[in-house]
Symmetry: C2
Subunit: 127 residues, 2 copies
Amino acid sequence: MVEHDSLALDTIFHALGDATRRAMLAELATGERSVGDLAAPFAMSLAAASKHIKVLEAAGLIRRDVRGRTHVCSLDPAPLMSADQWLGIYRRFWTDRLDTLEALLRTKSAGTPPVKPPIPGNKGEKR
Amino acid sequence: MVEHDSLALDTIFHALGDATRRAMLAELATGERSVGDLAAPFAMSLAAASKHIKVLEAAGLIRRDVRGRTHVCSLDPAPLMSADQWLGIYRRFWTDRLDTLEALLRTKSAGTPPVKPPIPGNKGEKR
DNA sequence: ATCATGTTCAACCATATGGTTAAATATAGC
DNA sequence: GCTATATTTAACCATATGGTTGAACATGAT
C-alpha cells in the first residue's frame, strides 16, 4: 500500500537537503508564488533559483501552473507525506526515549517537592 | 527551544537522501552493527561504505563506539526527530487533504454502494 | 511591430559526491 | 614478533551540484 520507492525518496530527501529549497517550500506553504516571487528573497540569479525550483518540481514537491508568461508554483504535500511515512518507521525510537524520560520524571517527583530536576545530560546518555 | 538549525537540517536531509544510507539506518534500527556488518549487504568497497557511515555520523544519525579494532555503530534518533519536526510544519497539508477526502467519501457513500470513487485531480500521483 | 517582462536554456566553472584501489593504522591472537 | 582482521586514509576518477553570465523564448503592453 504505502510504497517506499527508494528512488523517489532519494530525490525527495535530496530536494529537502538545501536551505534555499526548504525556504521556498515554507513560502509556498502560505500560498501560490510565481518563480520570480520565489527567487526574490535570495541573493542569487534568477537562473539559479529556477534550478532550485526544478529540483523541487522533479521531487514532486511543487506543481507549476503556467499562466501566460508567469509560472505559478504551489505546494504539493504528497512527497512530504512519503518522507514522513519513512520517518514514521523510526518514530518509536524517540517517542520511547521520551516516554522513558517522562516516566522517570514522574516517579522521581512522586512525593518530592517540585524541584527542578537535574536531568542527567540526556546528551551524553550512556546505556 | 526546538531549534531548526538549517545547516544541521541540510546535513540530515542530505544523509537521508541516499538509499544505501537509509538501508544502513534500517539495519541499525534492529540493533548495533559493526562497520563491516553495515557494509556487507552492499556491492561496494568497504572504503565506500565507510564514507557513507561517516556521512551518517556527521549528521549525528549514528554514534560510534570503538571496541578494540571494531567500530560498533548505533542509531541516534535525535536528528530524525529534528527532521520530523520540520516536516511537522507541513503535516496539516496532507492531513487536511485526507480529512477532506474522507469527508467527501463519507457523504458520497451515504446510501450508495461502496464503489471505487474517481478521486478528482490528485494528479501529481504516480503509481 | 516594438518593447518590456517573466522565465528558461546553454555554456561554463568550482566544488561536492560517490565510487575505486592501494597503502596505512590499530588491535587481536598465536 | 608476526600475522590476520577491522577500519581508515590517500590519491584518484567520473559525475552531480550549485552557482555564474548571456542569449533565447514566450507573452503582455503600447
